[in-house]
Amino acid sequence: MSKPETSVHASDPLWRRSAAEIHRARSVAWAFARRDLQLRYAQTRMGWLWSVGQPLLAAAIVLIVFSWIVKVEAPYGLSYPLYAFAALPAWLMAQHVLLQGAPSLVHNQHIVSKVFFPRTALPLSKAGVALVDFSVATLLFWVYRGWTTGMWIEGLHWVLLFAALGLYAALGLAYWIAALSVRYRDGLALLPFLVQGLFLLTPIAYPTERFASALGDHSWLLYLNPFVGVADGMRFGWLGLGDWNDYHLISFGVALGLFVTGTWALKAVERTLIDDL
């Protein structure tokens, strides 16, 4: 009948994070993700068809704006849709995590202030819907690539690796903004511009080379934006363009740094969260 004892003290180090807590964060995140998935297309006429419709709409906008109006061309004589759409599913995933995850603490104040669970669970849960959407969009692109190029299995492991890079980078950023939003809502006000800026500053709809050439010798700076690594890597995986680039490691490093420090930032605000929110 010896039940575990729990002890909480004012002087507990901020870093303390038990295995049980990580497990709890995951199970709560899963419950929230489940909720989001169940509610995703509630009261819509098309229901889950939107999972297909949304990436198609995003693709159509990129095609109209960047190919037809701005007349961007894909390098190496590739077709523009094939080139641009390769990085699109991963970007849409990151965008969802950022737009939904960053304000999740503020949006769920009524829950957060009434029951304790590790706070990373809320932004983390947004990865659920994002991953489902990513899978659907990736499946669409996979069929499109196979249809047009005859490549079906090539490079898929790279796609997964760089998708993970995108997910972690987006989660890290979302954690940071969520943590800051407890006290300062400024981050939430900036969020739409951040997402829009990231989309434009990341070579998704245009070739990486166009951007890199603007920086000259300092093109490595580009990879400080981890999504550049994602876009690059997606083309590398899907289309075999370029090589494994050591600069990618910069992106991986930044993403990992964001994720780890973001987790820590949320943990740090956890203690006074409901006093400040």
């Binding site: 729990t6 004012a10 709560v28 489940r34 169940q38």
Partner: protein, 388 residues
């Protein structure tokens, strides 16, 4: 530091300080001052105190929502806090899915909740078909019942409950109380209970802690604390207003004091009203009539001497009369009293606002559940039956 085996929870100098913001920058105050508390395993502790006493702060600290500024606490087993009924419920989800979600927020797996689903459904009194409907189509009562039902079936060694019984209808409240009592006696659960419903608090918790302005006022038997708390909590005792120039009448007889003799009145509990008067010479054919008005100034009920067959021919010049109530008929709330005394049919004393008293909530009848409609009114004794 290890927790002694007979205790479920122990705090040592547990305290919480808040710093001022904005124009209060640089200031700070203690929402909870260092508190030492021991709660024995399988017992129930009530927390009482006015708003801002630190009750909620203590619960927030214990539930991990906020971190202590000083001191700490230890507990054994799993602690579950219910600061709200139906935390996390989403209107678009079905009853069943909401049960899973709410369970997950409190650390219960889907499998554990699935095992309890039937019991939860039964306790809440919801039909199968409702469980698969979005709860936005539920009545508010159904939502509350489902919320509490989830709470009652969570696995917890220590249950921290904040004012959740304030919702729901009286019969469901009674059911919840019974369920909590059963959990303590059968499963050896420890309960920390905050309620403004002192009747519920008293019936559930033998011991209570009284907090005020972040400090422990007293710790002891709930019954004693409730009595003293009621006396103090409702501000300085409303003085009998005899001295004010508002009284009129011949002055042959003047009311000088009124008082509930068994302490602050509680609905359904016996009490005796003492009425003191003074005057000159023998008092013949005295009638005293008190009109009791509710907190909105509406007339509620008379307390009348002759009308109740008490009509002594002669009373001494000064003295006291008593009105005994077997069960206090007034519901929870504040009442004001208009008094009028006549001697030989002549108005000797009249005062429009002579006295006031606060009635605390309780059952209309000693064995009945508490009635907390928050309405000002009186209970009329009635007999319910199946046969005429």
């Amino acid at each position: 530091m290890s927790l002694p085996s007979h205790l479920a929870l122990q705090t040592q100098g547990l305290a919480k300080r808040y710093f001022g913001r904005g124009s209060f920058k640089g200031t700070h105050y203690w929402a909870l001052k260092p508190l030492d508390l021991e709660v024995a395993a399988g017992s129930a502790l009530g927390l009482m105190g006015p708003n801002g006493a630190g009750k909620s702060t203590l619960l927030k600290l214990l539930s991990g929502l906020t971190h202590p500024s000083a001191g700490g606490y230890q507990y054994r087993g799993q602690m579950t806090s219910l600061l709200e009924v139906g935390t996390g419920f989403h209107p678009d989800l079905s009853g069943r899915e909401n049960v899973y979600l709410s369970g997950a927020l409190h650390g219960m797996s889907r499998k554990e909740m699935a095992q309890r689903m039937e019991a939860i459904q039964e306790f809440a009194g919801l039909h199968d078909q409702y469980m698969d409907h979005p709860i936005k189509h539920y009545s508010s009562g159904m939502k509350v019942r489902l919320g509490f039902s989830v709470a009652a079936h969570l696995h917890a060694d220590i249950l921290v409950v904040d004012e959740v019984l304030a919702v729901g209808d009286a019969s469901f409240q009674a059911k919840c109380l019974q369920s909590m009592e059963a959990q303590m006696s059968e499963k050896g659960r420890t309960v920390l209970f905050v309620s403004h419903n002192l009747y519920a608090l008293q019936s559930l918790c033998p011991q209570s802690l009284w907090l005020d302005r972040g400090e422990k006022v007293r710790y002891g038997t709930s019954a004693d604390l409730v009595t003293d708390y009621l006396q103090q909590a409702h501000g300085p005792k409303e003085a009998f207003a005899s001295g004010h120039g508002l009284a009129s009448g011949s002055g042959k007889l003047r009311l000088t004091d009124m008082e509930w003799m068994s302490g602050p009145p509680q609905t359904g509990v016996a009490n005796t009203l003492r009425i003191a008067y003074e005057g000159e010479g023998d008092q013949h054919d005295v009638d005293i009539r008190l009109n009791v008005h509710g907190n909105d100034g509406r007339f509620v009920a008379p307390i009348a001497m002759h009308a109740h067959g008490f009509a002594p021919a002669v009373l001494p010049a000064s003295g006291e009369v008593y009105v005994h109530f077997e069960a206090m008929p007034f519901m929870e709330g504040w009442y004001t009293v208009q008094a009028r005394a006549t001697e030989r049919g002549v108005v000797a004393y009249e005062h429009k606002n002579v006295w006031g008293f606060q009635v605390a909530s309780g059952g209309f009848l000693a064995q009945a559940p508490a009635y907390t409609s928050g309405k000002n009114g009186v209970h009329i004794r009635q007999d319910w039956r199946l046969e005429p």
